[in-house]
Symmetry: C3
Subunit: 339 residues, 3 copies
C-alpha cells in the first residue's frame, strides 16, 4: 500500500492528482478499481482511458489530458509498469538459513546469508554466494557455483559443474547440466559420448520451469548475461545464447547452435544444430530454422491455418508444387511460341 506521492517518488516520476491517494494494487486499465494503479502502454487500449475507474494511471505525458483520474507521467509506461509490479510483489519471502532436512556437504561453501529450504541437497565443492535462495527439494551438484542473489525454485536439478552469475532465476523442475545427446555408432549400437563440459550462465539469466540446458560435450554450454528463457525449452549441448536474447516456450535448439545477442525466438521454434544466428534476429512462432541467419530481421516458416477441409485440398497441392511449377513453365513456353 502506497500513497500516490510515494509511488511517484519510488518510480522517479512526476504525477497529477491527490498526493495522499492510497494505491493498494495493480490492475489493467479495464479492470482497475479506485484503489488500483493501471497503465496505458499500448495505444490500442487508449479508448479505455476515458471510462477507467482506476485510482491512478501510468501513462505518457501527452495522454494525461485525456485521463479522468490521477496520473503517473512516464516516457516509458510499460517499463514503469514493470518496475511498479515489483513494488506490489506478494510472493512469500524465503525462510532464512538452512532447513534441518536439507543435506549440505561440509565441503560446500555457503555464504552466511543463504536460504536452503527443506530437503534440498548441496554437494561437495558447491559455492553459494550472498543471498542465494535454494528452494525445497533442489539438487545442487558437485562444484556448482551460484552468484550472489541467484534463486533456484523447488525441485530444480543442477548437475555437477553448473555455474551461474549473480541474480539468476531458475524455475521449478528446470534441469541444468544433464548429458548432451551425444553418441557414436558402434558395432552393437549407440555408444555414449561422455559429456565432459559444463553449463555457464551469465548474470541475470532466467530459466523457465521444466526447461533443460544440457552440459557441453567438450567445452561448455553458455547463456550470456540477461538472456531470458521460458518454460519447456530445450537447449542442447554446446549451444551459446547471446546477451539479452529471449526464447519463448516449447522452443528447441539442437547441439552447437549459436544465437546472437538481442534476439527473440517466439514459441515452438526449432533450430537445427551447428548453425549460427546473428544478433537482432526475430523468429516468429514455430519457425523451423535449418540454416544460419546472417542478417538481422524477422524470419518465419510454416503455413497458415485453414479449416481442415480447405487445408487438406491445399496441402495435397503442396505435394505437387514442383510439378505445378513445371506445368506452368511448359505452358509459358507454349504460349510464347504461339505468339
Amino acid at each position: 500500500m502506497y500513497s500516490l506521492a510515494e509511488l511517484a517518488d519510488r518510480l522517479g516520476l512526476a504525477f497529477t492528482g491527490d498526493a495522499h491517494k492510497t494505491i493498494k494494487g495493480l490492475a489493467t486499465l479495464e479492470e482497475a478499481g479506485p484503489d488500483d494503479l493501471a497503465f496505458l502502454a499500448n495505444p490500442k487500449y487508449a479508448s479505455q482511458l476515458a471510462g477507467s475507474h482506476a485510482g491512478a494511471v501510468i501513462l505518457a505525458p501527452e495522454q494525461a489530458t485525456d485521463c479522468p483520474v490521477a496520473c503517473l507521467l512516464s516516457d516509458t509506461p510499460y517499463l514503469t509498469f514493470a518496475r511498479a509490479s515489483q513494488l506490489f510483489n506478494q510472493s512469500p519471502p524465503p525462510v532464512q538459513g538452512i532447513h534441518d532436512s536439507a543435506t549440505v556437504s561440509p565441503e560446500a561453501q555457503l555464504h552466511p546469508d543463504v536460504c536452503v529450504a527443506a530437503n534440498a541437497v548441496v554437494e561437495a565443492g558447491a559455492v553459494l554466494g550472498a543471498g542465494v535462495i535454494i528452494g525445497a527439494g533442489v539438487y545442487v551438484g558437485h562444484g556448482c557455483r551460484l552468484g550472489a542473489g541467484s534463486r533456484v525454485y523447488p525441485n530444480a536439478v543442477l548437475y555437477h559443474d553448473v555455474h551461474m552469475g549473480e541474480n539468476c532465476v531458475i524455475h521449478a523442475q528446470a534441469v541444468l547440466g544433464a548429458d548432451g545427446f551425444g553418441y557414436a555408432q558402434g558395432p552393437q549400437g549407440w555408444e555414449k559420448i561422455c559429456q565432459l563440459g559444463g553449463v555457464r550462465l551469465g548474470n541475470g539469466v532466467e530459466i523457465g520451469a521444466n526447461t533443460t540446458v544440457d552440459r557441453g560435450t567438450l567445452g561448455h554450454t553458455v547463456i550470456d548475461d540477461g538472456a531470458i528463457i521460458d518454460n519447456l525449452v530445450q537447449i542442447a549441448h554446446n549451444c551459446r545464447i547471446g546477451k539479452n536474447t529471449a526464447i519463448a516456450g516449447c522452443t528447441g535448439l539442437a547441439g552447437s547452435t549459436i544465437i546472437g545477442a538481442n534476439c527473440t525466438l517466439a514459441g515452438g521454434v526449432g533450430v537445427v544444430g551447428h548453425v549460427e544466428i546473428c544478433d537482432n534476429v526475430h523468429l516468429t512462432g514455430m519457425t523451423m530454422v535449418t540454416r544460419s541467419i546472417t542478417s538481422p530481421g524477422s524470419y518465419s516458416s510454416g503455413t497458415p491455418m485453414g479449416s481442415t477441409g480447405e487445408w487438406k485440398r491445399n496441402a495435397v497441392r503442396f505435394s505437387q508444387l514442383d510439378a505445378i511449377q513445371r506445368r506452368l513453365a511448359a505452358l509459358e513456353k507454349q504460349v510464347k511460341h504461339q505468339t
Copy 2:
C-alpha cells in the same frame, strides 16, 4: 476379480452368458484371454469379434448376435470400457496420514483425512481438503488450496496462490504457478514484470506430467471444470481454458490465450498470445494458430510429409509461390488476349 453378473451389476448393464463366469482383467479384443473382459467400440475392429477368445465383450446390443462369447450390452461401449477400467485399477493405495519426513507448516490447514507422503512440503496458509493426496517430494506453496479428493503426484510443484477445485489430478513434475514470461525492455536489457496473479483450476481438472501452467500477471490463469491437459504442455500467464476442453501433449499456448469449452487440441499445437478460440473447435496436430477462431469446426495447418528428396523439391517451390501465382496471372491475361 468379478463374476460376470457382478460386473454387469456394477456397470448397470444387461448381459448374456454365464452369470458366474470369472473375469480377472481387461484386454483388447485381439489379446483378451478367457479370463479377460474385452470391448468393441470402434467398428474397424468388428472383424476381430468372431475370433475373440475373451471371457466377455462389452458391445452394442446389435452386435451381440455376432459375438461368440458372453456379452455386456452397452449403448456406449467405449464409455462402459472407461468405467470398467476403474474396476480393475491396480494402482497402489496411498498411505494415510502425514509421513514423518514431510515438512508441513503449522499454519497450513489439513483435513484429518489427507495423505502427505515422504519429503513433501506444505507451506503456511495452504488448505488441503478431505481425501487430498500429496505425493512424495511435492511442494505446495503458501496459500494454495486443494479441494476434496484432489491428488498431486510425486515431485510436482505448486508455487504460492494456486487453487484447485475437487477431484483434480496433477501428475509428476507438473509446475503450477511459475512466473509468466513477462518483461519490459529497459535501458540495460529486460526488466522483469512481477507476476502478481495466481492459478485457478476448477473441479475435475487433470494436468499431465511435466506440464507447466504459469501464474497470471494481473489476475489469474484459469482452467475450467473438467478440462484435461496432457504431458509437456505449456500454458502461459493469463490463459483461460474452457470447460471440458482437452489439450494433447507438447502443445504450447502463449500468454492471454482464451480457449472455449469442449475444444480438442491435438498434440504439438501452438497458439499465439491474445487470441480467442470459440467453443467446440478442434485443432489437428501441430496446427499453428495465429488468429482468433470464431466458428466451431476443425482447423489445421502444415504440409504433408514426403520423402526428403521429393519434399525438398516442393519446399523450394513454396518459397516461389507468390512468383508462381504472378506468373500464372500474367499467363492468364496473355492467353485471354490471344483469344
Copy 3:
C-alpha cells in the same frame, strides 16, 4: 591423465609419436592444447589438422601423414572418440549405500551394492539390481524393477510397475509411468480410462531430462534395447520404440505409435497415434507424421524459412494452392484448344 601408450592400449589402437607423452584431457581439433587429445572424424575439419596444437589426434591411418603431432590410428575415429571420452569422465562418483534421509520400504528388494541418495523414496515391491544408483529425491514406485547398473538422476519419478533392464540411464525430472491420456466422453464430460499397463524398457536405454513415457492403457508402453531418447520428449501410452532407435528433443509420439528399430527422429517431430513406422526410417526435424511409413528412408515436412515479409506473401498463396492448380489446369486446357 594418461600416457599416449596407455591410451592406445586402453583403446586398442596403434599410435605414432612419443609413448610417454602425457594426455590430460579431450578437446576439439581447433581448441586442443599440447596436453589434449583431439580427434578428426568429419572430413570438413581436415584442414584444421595441419595447424593443430593438440598433444595427439585420433584419426584414420590414411590421414596420419598429414598430422603434425602424435596420432592414435583408428578406422572409426568418432567411435574411438566416444570411447576415449569415457576415460576422461570427471563426473563425481555416487556415494555408496543408502542415505539416512532416504525412505526405503522394507518390502523393497535392494542388492547390497546399490546407492540410494538423499530423500529418495523406494516403495514396496521395488527391486534394485547390483550397482543401481538412485539419485537424490528420486521416487521409485511400487513394483518397479531396475536391472543391474541402471542409474536414475535426481528427482526423476517412476510410477508403479515400471521395469527397466540393465545399464539404463534416466535423467533428472523424467517421468516414467504417468497415466496415458485416455478418456471417454460421458454425459457430463470426460471420464477417465484407468491406465492398467506399465512401462517396459530394455537394456541400455537412455531417457533424457524432463522426458515423459506414459504407462500403457492395456498392456505396456515398450522401449527396446539400446534406444536413446533425448530431453522433453513425450512418449504416449502403448507406444513401442524399436531397438537402437534415437529420438531427439521436443518430439512427441501420440498413443499406440509403433516405431521400428534403428530409426532416427530429429527434434520436434510429431507422430499421430496408431501409425507404424518401419525400421531404418529417418525423420528430419519438425516433421509431422500423419500416416504409417512402410519403406525405409528419409522423410520430411514443413516449409523453408524466409524473411517474414517474403514468407507472408508465399503463405497467403498456400491458402490458394488448390485454386492455383485449378486455374493452371483450366489454362492448360484453353491453350491446348487454341493450338
